[in-house]
């Protein structure tokens, strides 16, 4: 057996190690994009299936977070660009093979629609925020006033209400694309073995949906809705755990570079943060709390919701950071 004694390799201080092309911007965006996808998915799904009255928070209130999440995510994305003044080039081309191009166009469509959706329900939101948040209520009332009195806005909102079903269907499909895209963005890079698995698409979608469910659960004031969303979230966490186990099984049955990528999580440097912080504190513990609640124990709803959201954020930071370390060695 040949033992590698010494490899000088290349030594270019400004290029090597290239590990950190993407910093905090990308994982933050992936989290916010997934969260927005989850919120919009539930809102539009329950709207088109005619269950608005059963799930009022999910349809009418929670989607207000989505445009803010997407906007902050977009700001992060633009900050991440090194050639920022040229960012508009994203919208002068559509490249079928590039996931980032798909993402840019998806965001371009979903952003305005996700602003329209909560505006339709602005009166319900005023009621929701009436107690406890006078400042938000004042802003909402001001916006409502504008929508009522500026003729072009009034016309636009009437149009939106008239075609709400069409908007809901469009947002429903776009939310799935957005959720899958956050994972596909990474899995398109075959040079980074940890990312190069098609399971990242469904995994990031499910993780995004579960953060969305957690946000709805947190905001809901209806016992039935809260309980239902706790159940949805539990189911999604179950699927997520299943997909994670599958991901590592796939890596370990794959090429050497992917086995090495998996080894970072199975004994390597990311073991503690992945299994301890994300898997245990961000998935298993909130799932157990949700199960306890189903059996009738009183658990403050914000604890599992917060843990799920935090877990989703940490998961994306781990995947982006670890993925950039993995590479082909030659």
């Amino acid at each position: 057996m040949k033992e590698e004694l010494f490899v000088s390799g290349r030594n270019i201080p400004n290029i090597d190690p290239v590990l950190h092309v993407w910093h905090w911007h990308i994982p933050l965006y992936l989290f916010l994009g997934g969260l927005a996808a989850g919120l919009i998915f539930f809102a539009t799904y329950f709207y088109v299936s005619g269950k608005t009255d059963k799930y009022p928070t999910a349809v009418k209130i929670a989607p207000v977070i989505a445009p803010f999440a997407i906007a902050i995510g977009l700001i992060a994305l633009i900050l991440d660009l090194k050639h920022t003044p040229y960012f508009w080039r994203l919208f002068t081309a559509f490249r079928l093979e590039s996931p980032m191009s798909w993402g840019a166009w998806t965001l371009g469509v979903i952003m305005p629609l996700s602003i329209v959706w909560p505006l339709i329900y602005i009166k319900d939101m005023i009621k929701y925020f009436q107690f406890g948040s006078p400042r938000i209520t004042a802003i909402l009332k001001w916006i409502d006033n504008l929508l009522e009195n500026v003729s072009i806005l009034k016309w636009a909102m009437d149009l939106a209400r008239k075609y709400q079903m069409a908007i809901a269907w469009a947002l429903f499909f776009m939310s799935i694309i957005l959720g899958v895209y956050t994972g596909i963005l990474l899995s398109a890079f075959n040079a980074r073995p940890l990312w190069n698995t098609s399971i990242l698409g469904p995994l990031f979608l499910v993780s995004g949906l579960s953060t969305g469910a957690a946000a709805v659960m947190w905001m809901s004031r209806h016992h039935f809705e809260q309980k239902q969303f706790s159940r949805f979230d539990l189911m999604l966490v179950g699927i997520e755990i299943f997909l994670i186990i599958h991901m590592f099984m796939g890596f370990n049955a794959s090429t050497q570079v992917q086995q090495q990528a998996a080894a970072m999580f199975l004994g390597g440097e990311f073991t503690a943060v992945f299994w301890g912080v994300f898997f245990t504190a961000g998935l298993v513990v909130p799932a157990l709390l949700e199960i306890m609640e189903l059996f009738g124990y009183k658990v403050p709803v914000f604890i599992p919701a917060f843990l799920i959201l935090l877990g989703g954020l940490i998961f994306r930071f781990i995947m982006v950071d670890a993925g950039q370390i993995t590479r082909y060695l030659y």
Partner: protein, 177 residues
């Protein structure tokens, strides 16, 4: 036309002249480079073996960098040379992530920069800057579609390898062994 490069690992002494020639020819900012030297020493003392390679963009046939570029700034020109249009590049880093050879870098001005196979020299019938200065003649540049070109002859006569062929990129820089 299919441009390619052959790099003779048996002749290279690792002098870095190719690196300096490229930096000078292409005005590469200080601290960066489009080609570089790799010295691999393997074995257990005293049974050691060393391989020195002059590496650069492999101008792959199957280009993950061009595929992932969201704006079309990364593109392939005649002869299979992979280039970046500076004012179409948004500096997103997707191509850097996509390259298994880490051949791309962010220019201090923000856009992504890389080896161009000196297409401006090649268009005038000259060799690339790195090839033209190599003191041991370990680098050969040429057209693979011409069966009589020196590089075609070399690749027929010598044993060679490419880097990370399992990445599926079909690299076009050949290392003679």
């Amino acid at each position: 036309m299919r441009y390619a490069m052959a790099m003779d690992t048996a002749k290279c002494v690792g002098c870095s002249d190719c690196v300096v020639a490229c930096q000078t020819e292409n005005n590469v900012p200080i601290g960066f480079c489009r080609d570089w030297i790799v010295e691999n020493v393997e074995g257990t003392y005293p049974q050691l073996e060393m391989e020195i390679r002059s590496e650069r963009c492999n101008h792959c046939e199957n280009t993950p960098c061009v595929r992932t570029c969201p704006t079309g700034a990364s593109h392939v020109i005649e002869g299979g040379i992979v280039k970046v249009t500076h004012d179409e590049c948004i500096g997103c880093g997707a191509c850097i992530q996509a390259c298994p050879y880490d051949a791309r870098y962010f220019h201090p001005d923000g856009y992504v920069d890389k080896c161009t196979f000196c297409d401006h020299r090649v268009a005038e019938g000259l060799d690339t800057a790195c090839v033209s200065v190599c003191p041991t003649h370990s680098l050969t540049f040429g057209d693979l579609d011409d069966p009589q070109s020196p590089i075609s002859v070399l690749l027929r006569e010598r044993k060679w390898k490419t880097l990370v062929p399992e990445a599926g990129t079909q690299p076009q820089v050949y290392f003679l062994i």
